[in-house]
């Protein structure tokens, strides 16, 4: 077991950092905010850590914490200044935010290393540290997926107008998602730069957003389990199937299209539907009886139903 972990340390590390990035996109997404800003947070976390460690000799953990906090602060400000926008307009604003940051990375001279980027980021973060951080975040995120809070989050996403008519402060929830998303996205970048020991503008461009979004869509938007399943799938699949490695983009693109058209809830959504159906299967006849007893079915429905049964 330990041997296997040592052998695959890089892939495991990649899975975990990609997972954190996916969570950073998933949190606003669960509230109905399509935000591509996570890539920007990732860049701030990654570049911030690299600059502090290689240019100012700051210790590894201090760098990681400072850079992640910086991402959270920037995210909070971004959330405030774009709070007037919603839907696709907000999505566009976050795309331009992330791409502006990558333009800054290219043009940052010796600070960001220009097109070459920064390298030689060698700290003392092990795979166990990264795994520990991921577990803590899973633990915290899982609280938002149960009970009252999850209900309110669902309502905010599915129908924000309805949510606010139900007394849910939609603006507050959405605004709060920014610093959280920023912190986790920054952390993902900071840990990734330690894993890869280098960062360059190429590694923080739009392709990364597409990957993270793909992961969430395939895995499922509603739960961290979806983000984890998607991360495992996308990091390991090309390793296992060489064919997939060669045609990576085509396979991903096709999968994403299929998921978008056929299973909007992702793998986790399919599983939940199945579980729900199984749990009500026993009660289904009862439901039909109750409905009939209530005598509510309108004429058309009754017709179509009797047509099916008959």
């Amino acid at each position: 077991m330990m041997g296997w972990i040592d052998q695959n340390e890089f892939l495991i590390g990649s899975t975990l950092t990609v997972f954190l990035l996916a969570i950073s996109i998933q949190i606003p997404l669960r509230l109905g905010v399509i935000s591509f800003a996570s890539i920007g947070y990732y860049a701030i976390g990654g570049y911030g850590t690299a600059i502090l460690m290689t240019q100012y000799d700051v210790s590894t953990w201090t760098s990681v914490v400072v850079a992640s906090m910086a991402a959270a602060v920037v995210a909070t400000l971004l959330g405030l200044i774009i709070s007037r926008l919603n839907g696709l307009y907000l999505a566009m604003a976050t795309v331009s935010f992330s791409l502006l940051l990558s333009a800054i990375a290219v043009n940052g001279g010796s600070v960001t290393g220009g097109a070459v980027g920064l390298f030689g980021v060698i700290g003392d973060i092990t795979i166990w540290h990264t795994a520990g951080i991921a577990v803590v975040i899973i633990f915290l995120v899982s609280f938002t997926e149960r009970g009252k809070l999850s209900r309110r989050i669902d309502a905010t996403r599915e129908d924000s107008q309805l949510a606010s008519a139900m007394g849910i402060n939609v603006t507050a929830y959405r605004r709060l998602s920014f610093p959280i998303s920023g912190l986790i996205g920054g952390l993902a970048g900071a840990l990734a730069v330690n894993l890869k020991t280098a960062i360059n503008p190429e590694s923080v461009n739009f392709t990364l957003v597409v990957l993270a979004l793909t992961i969430i869509i395939i895995g499922g938007q509603a739960s961290w389990i979806g983000a984890l399943a998607g991360s495992l799938f996308f990091v390991w699949l090309p390793e296992i199937l060489v064919f997939v490695g060669e045609w990576e983009e085509v396979v991903y693109g096709t999968l994403v299209v299929f998921a978008a058209v056929l299973v909007p809830g992702g793998v986790v959504g399919v599983f939940n539907d199945w579980r729900h159906r199984r749990s009500v299967a026993r009660e289904r006849p009862k439901v039909a009886l109750l409905e009939a007893a209530a005598g509510e079915s309108d004429a058309e429905l009754t017709q179509s139903r009797s047509g099916k049964d008959g």
Binding site: L85, L88, G253, V256, A260
Partner: protein, 296 residues
């Protein structure tokens, strides 16, 4: 100086051709098509593959690219976007699925082109068309530029007038304002949506072929760069406004030239994001856009 203005105007005309179809699709049937850049690139790529086999002239190359673009766009609409819209539980959920579907779609042709060209630029040099340059009063203008200027501005203004004045244009605008009302007006939404996508795809193909002639070659990734610029153009002008697309294209093209002249060239790509971000903060409905009209 005159040369720069001319070059910027030519670039603006290309932007118009690219962004026009996208804006039309977004403003009327409500799809922000992330795959528009790939349609653009792949139409030119198909024309390139044909030209490699048969040396064709410009009209034939453009026709191939336009037909390819139209077919790809219609296929996307029919196989992906339409099913998503039909299934969506609410318009908002549909919005995200459409964005994601578009992102997924765009990856497929790009990857094919990349593998087949080994990520090298491709062009129509095997064709019979020759670029000719004319010098008029110290200003150099090529025959390609003349075609781009005429086609770009002509189609831009023509489409805008058509949308504004024709009966079909009215139906399209009704679709953009309120799908429910337009359904009551007896508009066949899926059919009109398909027609809009067809037009948009043909325009993307046209832009792809003309841009390839203009720059002599493009790469598999050219579409993505333009896609992001088109976001800026459409939002600058105002979603749903075709004159807005023309205005936005000119603003972006001239801003990029100004940045190119006065600073280090590597900031040029940032101009579009910068403008996009600014306009969203100051006036999200765009320069010519109206605030959302809603009525029950």
């Amino acid at each position: 100086m005159v040369q720069d203005l001319l070059n910027a105007t030519t670039l603006a005309s290309i932007y118009v051709l690219f962004a026009l179809g996208m804006s039309l699709v977004w403003g009327t049937i409500g799809i922000l098509n992330f795959a528009h850049g790939s349609i653009f690139m792949f139409s030119a790529f198909i024309a390139y593959l044909v030209v490699q086999q048969i040396p064709l002239g410009m009209p034939a190359v453009i026709a191939i690219a336009m037909v390819s673009g139209a077919l790809i766009a219609v296929a996307m609409q029919y196989l992906v976007f339409q099913p998503i819209m039909k299934k969506a539980k609410n318009p908002h959920a549909g919005e995200l699925q459409l964005v994601i579907g578009g992102i997924g779609l765009s990856a497929i042709p790009i990857s094919f082109a990349q593998r087949s060209t080994l990520s090298n630029p491709f062009g129509f040099s095997a064709g019979t068309f020759e670029t000719q340059a004319y010098t008029i009063g110290g200003v150099i203008i090529t025959n390609v530029m003349i075609i781009i200027l005429i086609v770009g501005l002509g189609l831009g203004v023509g489409t805008a007038l058509w949308i504004r004045n024709s009966k079909k244009g009215l139906a399209l605008r009704a679709l953009g304002v309120d799908p429910e009302v337009s359904a009551m007006m007896g508009i066949d939404r899926p059919k009109l949506a398909l027609a809009t996508m067809l037009y948009s795809g043909a325009l993307a193909g046209l832009a792809g072929a003309l841009l390839t002639y203009y720059f002599n070659s493009i790469t598999s990734e050219s579409g993505d760069t333009l896609l992001l610029k088109a976001f800026a153009i459409i939002i600058l002008g105002g979603v749903g406004s075709i004159f807005g697309v023309i205005l936005g294209s000119f603003i972006l093209a001239f801003a990029e030239f100004a940045v190119l002249l006065y600073t280090n060239g590597s900031w040029v790509t940032a101009v579009s994001f910068g403008l996009l971000f600014l306009i969203l903060l100051i006036r999200p409905q765009g320069i010519l856009g109206k605030k959302e009209v809603r009525r029950t």
